[in-house]
Symmetry: C2
């Protein structure tokens, strides 16, 4: 059975919207330049948040199966929008920063590639419009 | 000048990740079936949240320029994932529910089309992989 997703988003005032997703509320807003009051993040960078969460939730269990247990993982995502409308991200760079002792770089690379090429549904959507690049860093 | 976006996302424990976007924090998690504890929304539906916020922030000011001032707007977005990996949304349905007296349906339709076809960067990205459908409701 396929589980559909459904979210609601209600206009609060000026440019502020409050979304409800699985019972959690997220306020979105924009800067004063566009009539907003910065009471929440802008919508577009949430695509990058979704990407980081999605690939992170692939990589951690994939590594666990390979018996690799990093102490920490920080994922940084940078998106560069087009200059013309619609100003979607046409370049996205993802940095995986693993910390821990004796981490096997090949296994980290393998987990990241499996997420990128096979499992991560958010990457799959965003890479249809964006050139995506990846980088792995290890802090020990 | 192009404003790049940058977000960070830190692994907290099990499947929970905490993202920071423009100073705001968003926790993502998953269900126990996948080793999570539901301390936040799953990452993929955040794409639908971003879509709702992005198109909402187009539609409200576009309507204002047309001297249409709805009392309320609720945007509902449904996403249907593919059955195979990567399980990205291949069908997305967006419902705009406007409330207010004497709203001109043609102007509402025009604002929604302008967002969909020209301005909304999140729609532009998601429609590369998803068949997108739209619906406008008016509650008066």
């Amino acid at each position: 059975m396929i589980m559909k997703s459904k979210i609601d988003c209600t206009w609060k005032q000026d440019m502020a919207f409050e979304a409800e997703v699985q019972g959690f509320k997220i306020t979105m807003d924009t800067t004063s330049e566009f009539g907003g009051h910065e009471t929440g993040p802008r919508p577009k960078p949430l695509l990058l948040v979704a990407l980081a969460g999605c690939t992170g939730m692939d990589v951690i269990p994939l590594l666990k199966k390979m018996r690799v247990e990093p102490e920490g993982l920080k994922i940084t995502v940078e998106g560069e929008p087009r200059e013309e409308h619609p100003k979607y991200y046409h370049r996205i760079h993802v940095i995986y920063e693993f910390s821990g002792k004796g981490l096997d770089p090949e296994k980290l690379e393998k987990a990241v590639s499996l997420s990128r090429d096979r499992y991560c549904s958010v990457s799959a959507m965003l890479k249809m419009g964006a050139e995506m690049t990846y980088e792995i860093k290890i802090l020990d």
